[in-house]
Structure formats: C-alpha cells, structure tokens
C-alpha cells in the first residue's frame, strides 16, 4: 500500500502565477481556507517573465482612452471570436485591478511633469505612466521598465503570504477527481520528496497557465507542458478555441541555445524597426485592409509618430506598421523568409540602435542585458536578429464570463488556462490584466460557492489507486527510452506540422504522429528514484502534451479558413459567412476526443455600436 496524504481546504487553487495568486487572495478575503498548489516555487511562475506591461484604460497618458476603446481594440485584435462579455468586463475592471496592485506595493513607472494631453491640458505628473503596444489605439500599458511580470508576481506573492493561504510548492497536480459529476479534489505529487497527496476541495480553481512547450521554438518555461489544460479536459470540461496559438513575431533566433526567448514588443513600441536582408522596412507591405486607416504608410509618418513618443507628447500621427497585431507581424516575417530575404540566421532584423544609447538602456534594460549576455550583441549599437516563437494559447477551458466556472460544476478556471477574452489573437498586455480581472472573479465566486457547500465530497478509492499506479509506473520500468527524447520529438513534430502555417495534410499527419508518440511515452524509463527526479516528471508530462497537441491539431484541421493566429495555406482567406461566427469546442466522451462548433454568443446592440462598423460589415 502506497502512502497518500490527504488535505482539506474550502478552495483549491492550482497554479501560483498572476491568476492563481489573485484568485487565492480574493478567496481568503472572503474567509475561505485556501491551498495554493504549484509546480515550481512561489514567485517563479511564468508570469515572472512578462515584460512589456499590463493593459488598462487608465487614461493617464492619453485622456482620450476609455473602456469602450479598449473593448473595441480587444475585439478587433481577436477578429471578433472573443466572448464579448469577457472583453467588456476586462475593459471595465482592469483599471481598478491595476490601481489596487499599486496599493499593494507595485511601483509602476510614473508620468513625468510637464506633459500635455491631446486636448492641450496638462497630464497629471506622478501618476502611473502607460506605453504603446501593438493593436492598442492609445498608450495603455502600465509597466515597470521591461520587467512588469516580476513586479506583478512579487506584489501578489508578498500580499498573498499575509492573507493566510497555505502554499504547496513544487507539487504537481496529475488528476482532478469528480464525484457525482462535481469536482471533488485533486491528486498531486511533491517533486522535492516524491510524496503523494490528495486534496479535497469544495471548489477548485485551475490557474495553470499555458501550453507552448509543445512547440520546439517557444518563449515558455518547462512548466508550459499543458498539464492544466489536460486536467480540465480529462475531468470532462469543455475546451474552446484550441486552434488559436499565438506566435510572437520577435523571439531570439541566434545562438541556437537561446532560440525562442522573447524579445519584448516594447522594442517596437519604443521605435524599433524591422528590416529584411535587403535593408527594406518590409512591414509597410503587409498592412491589412482592416487596419489601413490606422497605420502610417510612409517612413516619414512612422518616424514622426516615434518622434512624438520619444518627446513624450501625445501622438497625432498614425503609428508605424511594426506595431500591427502579432499575427500580422509574425506572418509577414514568415513571408519574408519564404521570399529569400531572411537575415543571416533565418529571421529578420530588429533595430533600435538608432536611438540614444542611454535611453535604450533605461527603457529596455532587460533586453539590453539579454542580448549582451546571451548573444554577445549590443543592441544600442547593432540590430537584433529575430523570428516567430510560440508564445501564448488563446484557447483553453470554457468558462462562464461572470463567475469563471467551467462546464464541470465546482471547477473554475482563470488566466491563460481559460479561454474567451482574446478570441483568435491576443493583444499584448491584455494577458496580465486578464489574470488580475478574472483571477479575482474566480476567487470570489469559488469562495462563495464553497461557503454554500457543506462538507467534502468523498473521492473514490478506485480513482486514487488508479492515478497512484499510473504515477509510479515509469519508475518501475527497467528498460525504455529516455523521456527527454520523446518530448523533443513531439515538440519538433508540432513545430513542423502544426506550427505557424498549417495545411490539412500536415495536420492529419500530426494527429497520426501523436498516437505514435503517446505510445512511446507510455514506455519510457527515466530511472532513479522519487526524490527530485526530472526524468520521472518529464515521463509523466507526455500524456498531457500529447492530448493538448491533439486538441490543437484537431481544431486547426476543422477550421478551414485563416483568421488571427490560425493560418491555413490551403484556406488562406477568412471565411466570414461561417467560420467567422463560430467557436470550436472540444471535449472527452467515452475515451474519445470530440469536436463541435458553437455560434458565438450574440452581442448586445449597445456594445456592437462600439465596434468598427466597416469590419463588421465585412464580417457579415
């Protein structure tokens, strides 16, 4: 009999990134006992890596901004597949979530004295400053240099530890239990000492972040194997929009060991220009119809905008095409490569060296160090080489926009693990305020539901025995492959067959390959024992990676059009009459992955009036 320890808490929060911590803080505030369970140590979650900023219509930097404009930008960037109710809540509540973070200790960059708004009135010096980012009409991102995620997670961590939550660090959750159709708890193992644990919770919040480690070139950490998404799916939850994976246009590409590491969009927000091997500023050739009126069409106009930004005056010019949405820029880079105009190592050049050296170091300190230390490139003097990197998944657990509850009663989801806000493409900066806005809501509603529940549901012993056996199985296999090899092959396969440009034939191959990879995964032998054994941990992650990759390939195969982050070479144009009006839904039924397409929820007339009329008529 293997020893399994049991714990009981009103609310279980799986994940300690921005979404998980914000949820836990809210739940404890409402009096619930809360366990936070996370794979890595507190304060190290993926959120720590976020760079550019958090988007909220504070209207400090440009008084013309409003929640209505933020809402419009988010919907437009998402190519109208977003859940409009989530976009509305997000646009309205984000400013308060940022102000509250400031009161908890976050030190955002400030507005300097002497600035004037578009109406000629002075801006309020000393309030939170905001920066420009792709797809946002006005400067909207509250930031701290290029280390906004660190500030966010540290602030929530330092707040959280005083709120009474119990943190279980370096615990990996492998299964959610359901009892009579309701989530009753979860199973986890402690990475550090190999002990096994069950947690009973009246409600459970999934805040496990993203899945981008399923691709060979990605900006994510080892945590992004998609276990969280798989946990929900295995528990019967409906998963939405899984075909939409954002490839960030600017990842490092050289040397090979840094391939994929993110180069913040802030570089372009500060005036960085993209050029090909012929020295041409190619983005001018890629401005889509729907953005034609909003972007500069000459270098002079683009430069005039940058000059205004540097002078810290309100922009009156149209912005440079480098600041188009991520899907557009990533695809443009891909096209330049295909046309034989790639940089030395197969990307394009991103150049900020024309700006004053000290300004670059002050505005982009992280990027300066990252290139200097990892690539021996001084970005104040020479261009960077960049290319697309798998960065963010718009798809995830389908949730109620108000409460964040999933289709399985008692299970809530927030942050990158959930879907709805971003539609077919996320705007930079919208994730961090997504975490805060919907993390808070998930915490609030999960605590409320827990308070209305008496006692804990029994977890079936058969279920516990099954997951224990499965968890220990890799350690009992004497002979077998190194799990690292299977993971590497899976990531290379997804990069090649379900990457930035897709075709029906390749996606079908991907689905077949995944069956094979999963079977290989079941036979790996990591060796070693239960104490801090990364080979064992990796062996356990493969089944989740396979199911996540499958969801992505299956929904990408079904969507026969190109929209936002999803590009089909065999269906290169958006199909407004059908695909522009439906979201994909994936679920598990009797051991099989099923897919259907639901019509997008109807939008209220009031909110519809805020949207871009010309886009919508095109969408009809």
């Amino acid at each position: 009999m293997t020893d399994v320890r049991n714990h009981q808490y009103d609310v279980l929060v799986i994940g300690a990134g921005g979404a998980g911590l914000r949820a836990a803080i809210e739940a404890t505030r409402d009096g619930a006992s809360v366990a936070v369970i996370c794979k890595s140590m507190l304060g190290k979650a993926h959120t720590v890596m976020a760079e550019g900023g958090a988007a909220a219509a504070l209207a400090n930097k440009d008084p013309r901004d409003s929640w209505q404009t933020h809402f419009r930008d988010t919907m437009k960037g998402g190519k109208y597949l977003n859940d409009w109710r989530m976009a509305e809540i997000h646009a309205k509540e984000s400013p308060d979530r940022i102000r509250e973070l400031e009161q908890w200790g976050a030190i955002f960059d400030r507005i300097p004295p002497g600035l004037k708004g578009a109406d000629g009135k002075p801006l309020k010096a000393g309030t939170i400053s905001q920066r420009n980012f792709g797809g946002h009409t006005y400067p909207r991102l509250a930031h701290i240099g290029d280390a906004t995620g660190l500030e966010l997670i540290r602030t929530l961590q330092d707040r959280g530890i005083h709120s009474g939550m119990d943190v279980f660090m370096e615990y990996t959750v492998r299964r959610l239990f359901t009892t009579d159709g309701r989530v009753s708890g979860c199973f986890a193992y402690n990475r550090a000492d190999g002990t096994l644990h069950t947690f009973q919770g009246k409600t459970t919040i999934l805040a496990t972040g993203g899945i981008t480690r399923c691709w060979a070139v990605c900006s994510g950490s080892w945590e992004y194997t998609g276990e969280g998404h798989a946990l929900a799916y295995w528990a019967g939850a409906e998963m939405g929009d899984m075909e939409f994976v954002q490839f960030h246009p600017t990842g490092m590409i050289w040397p090979p060991s840094v391939r994929g590491i993110l180069v913040t969009e802030g570089v372009r927000g500060e005036g960085g220009v993209l050029t090909n091997s012929e020295g041409e500023r190619f983005m001018f050739n890629y401005v889509p119809e729907m953005y034609k009126n909003e972007f500069a069409d000459t270098q002079q106009e683009a430069q005039a905008w940058v000059d205004e930004v540097i002078a810290d005056v309100t922009a009156t010019q149209r912005r440079p095409p480098e600041l188009l949405t991520r899907d557009v820029v990533a695809k443009a880079i891909n096209s330049e490569k295909k046309a034989g105009r790639a940089s030395e190592h197969g990307g394009v050049y991103l150049d900020i060296s024309w700006r004053d050296e000290e300004q670059v170091k002050k505005k982009l300190p992280g990027m300066y160090h990252q290139f200097k230390e990892l690539a021996a490139v001084d970005i104040t003097k020479e261009p960077m080489e960049v290319g697309p990197t798998a960065h963010y998944v718009m798809g995830g657990v389908k949730v109620d926009p108000v409460t964040q509850e999933s289709s399985v009663p008692g299970l809530y989801a927030a942050g990158e693990a959930a879907t709805g806000l971003h539609g077919a493409n996320r705007l930079g900066g919208n994730s961090l305020t997504d975490l805060l806005t919907f993390g808070k809501r998930a915490g609030e509603y999960a605590a409320k539901a827990a308070a209305e529940t008496d006692g804990y549901l029994e977890i079936s012993q058969t279920d516990i025995d099954a997951v224990v056996a499965e968890t220990l199985a890799p350690l009992n296999r004497q002979e077998g492959e190194n799990p690292a090899k299977v993971v590497e092959d899976l990531r290379e396969m997804m990069q090649e067959k379900a990457g930035i440009i897709r075709t029906g034939a390749l996606l079908e191959e991907a689905l077949a390959d995944l069956d094979e990879l999963e079977a290989r995964g079941e036979k790996t032998a990591p060796g070693g024992g239960r104490i801090y054994n990364p080979g064992w941990h990796q062996a356990l992650e493969i089944s989740a990676m396979a199911d996540i990759s499958r969801m992505c390939a299956l929904s990408a195969l079904a969507r026969e059009e190109s929209r936002g982050a999803h590009t089909r070479d065999d269906f290169p144009v958006p199909d407004r009459s059908h695909w522009g009006k439906v979201n994909s839904v994936i679920w598990l039924e009797e051991g099989e992955m099923k897919i259907r397409h639901d019509p997008c929820p109807p939008i209220s007339a009031e909110l519809r009036a805020l949207l871009d009329a010309s886009d919508l008529s095109e969408e009809e």
Binding site: S40, M41, K44, A45, H46, V48, M49, D96, R99, E102, Q103, W104, G105, I107, F108, D109, R110, P113, K124, A125, G126, T127, S129, I144, A147, L150, E151, R154, D158, R159, I161, H162, M169, A192, S221, W222, W254, P255, P256, S257, V258, I261, L262, G366, Q370, E373, L374, N482, A484, K485, E488, P526, G528, G529, I531, Y532, N533, P534, G535, Q538
Partner: protein, 254 residues
C-alpha cells in the same frame, strides 16, 4: 565531432542528519554554439542522466531558480555562457558544478531555500493610504525600483559570510531581505516602521559591509551601498543619535 566539455557535477542527497552525502560525477558532452551552463546540464539529462536534479524556469535570468556554484562561484546557470566558463577553467580541467553551499541540500544541484519563504512572512507588508491613484515622481520610484528588480535567486545569501560561514540564519536576515526592507522603508507612500525589527530580529549589525553580496547579484542591485548602509544609518539615527532621541521624546519626530 565538435568540441567537448567535461562537467564534474555533485550528485547526492542528505543523510538522516541532513549532511550532504554524495560524489562528484564526470559527464562529457559535445558543445553547440552559444551554450550556457544550464544547456550543458540539460544535455547531460537528455543523454545520460535523466534523474540529475536542477531547478530552472525561465532560462532568461528572470526567475532566479537556477542558482548554483560554477567553478566555486555562485551564479545563475542560465545566464553563464560556456564561452566564459571555458576561458576561466584551466586547460584539461573539468568544470565544477555544485549546489549553493550555504543552504541545506535537497538533491544534486537543488538546495532547500524554505528559510527564505519563512522569513519573508515575518516582514510587515506595505501600509499606504486608502485613496487610490497614488502620486509620486519617477525619481522616487527609481530609488525603490532598483530593489524591486530582485529575482530572489538567493545568490547573495549564499555568498554572505555571516550566513555561509557562521550559519546565523536565525539572527540575521541576510542581504536579500535587507533589499526587501529597503524597498518597504523607502517606498514613497509607506507609513510602516520596521526599524526596530531591522535592528533586533533581523540583526543588521552583523553585516560588516564586505560587499560580497553586491558582487554576485545578477540583477545588478547595489545591495550594500543602496540598501544596507542607508538602513544602518536609519537605525543609528533612530536608536543611537542623542539629538534624534531627544526630538522624539519631545514629540518633534515620529
């Protein structure tokens, strides 16, 4: 066949009394262009030792997980380039990789840093005004933002002799937490007072300003000059400056 490098890596676990028991094991791998130390560790895991333990998350110097001692010096493995390591390692010698030595061992390259999480809980949080939309200048923000850039890698703690050699984890908060306290004490909107704690419970007096912590900080925080010395000065003014004490008695200062 490309160039090869040999890593001599500590492999082991603590015994029942918590004393590290283990051995140094040599692994030879082929080098790729631009590798950092963490890449070599990952390659060893992928090729020959899947159960070799090490912590990492971001591989970009942002999370502070991958701290270890490389050739006896505390550094982030993900930000230490092999080109530099090869240059500093004598010809024909292996590169020596050990976990942080000031902390208890979990296994191989993983150290137990739970002390830091426990200590952090004892530090009273920010207490600022209830009203929203705080106003302060970028200059005021700059002073504190330096401290906020700490990634909690614990390399400074690992290096400080008060902790490493004298093991005073119960009496001395160590450089990381003086950075945290400086952050709170110099926050433009904070009304809290933690100086008594800094003097007594956290033992700032034990620091004799050797600056070893500052030397290893990957975030480039000027720990000693900008955090510790100003805190020491505040303690002196508060508790040892006769004029200040008199002023306080007379109710002229808080």
């Amino acid at each position: 066949m490309g160039r090869e490098v040999t890593f001599r890596v500590f492999r082991g676990e603590p015994d029942e009394d918590g004393v590290p028991k283990g051995e140094l094991v040599d692994y030879t791998v082929e080098m790729d262009e631009g590798m950092v130390v963490l890449d070599v560790i990952h390659k060893i895991q992928a090729e020959s030792a899947p159960d070799l333990s090490c912590r990492w998350n971001c591989k970009a110097g942002k999370c502070g997980s991958c701290s270890a001692e490389v050739n006896g010096k505390a550094r982030l493995m993900c930000m230490t380039r092999m080109a530099d390591i090869e240059e500093e390692t004598p010809e024909g010698e292996p590169v020596l990789i050990k976990p942080m030595q000031a902390f208890p061992l979990v296994k191989d390259l993983v150290a137990d840093v739970s002390w830091a999480y426990e200590l952090n809980k004892t530090i009273p949080p920010l207490t600022g005004p209830e009203e929203k939309d705080w106003v302060f200048s970028q200059e005021e923000a700059d002073r504190v933002q330096e401290f906020r850039s700490c990634i909690e890698c614990m390399l400074c703690v690992n290096t400080c002799h008060v902790l490493r050699e004298h093991n005073m984890f119960d009496e001395f908060a160590g450089p990381r937490f003086f950075v945290r306290l400086a952050d709170l004490e110099m926050h433009p909107m904070d009304a809290g007072d933690r100086l008594e704690m800094v003097k007594d419970d956290l033992g700032i007096g034990y620091c004799n300003i050797t600056r070893c912590c500052t030397d290893v900080c990957p975030a480039g925080i000027n720990i000693t000059d900008n955090a510790i010395i100003p805190l020491k000065e505040r303690v002196v003014t508060e508790y040892y400056d006769p004029l200040a004490i008199l002023a306080k008695k007379l109710g002229l200062r808080k």
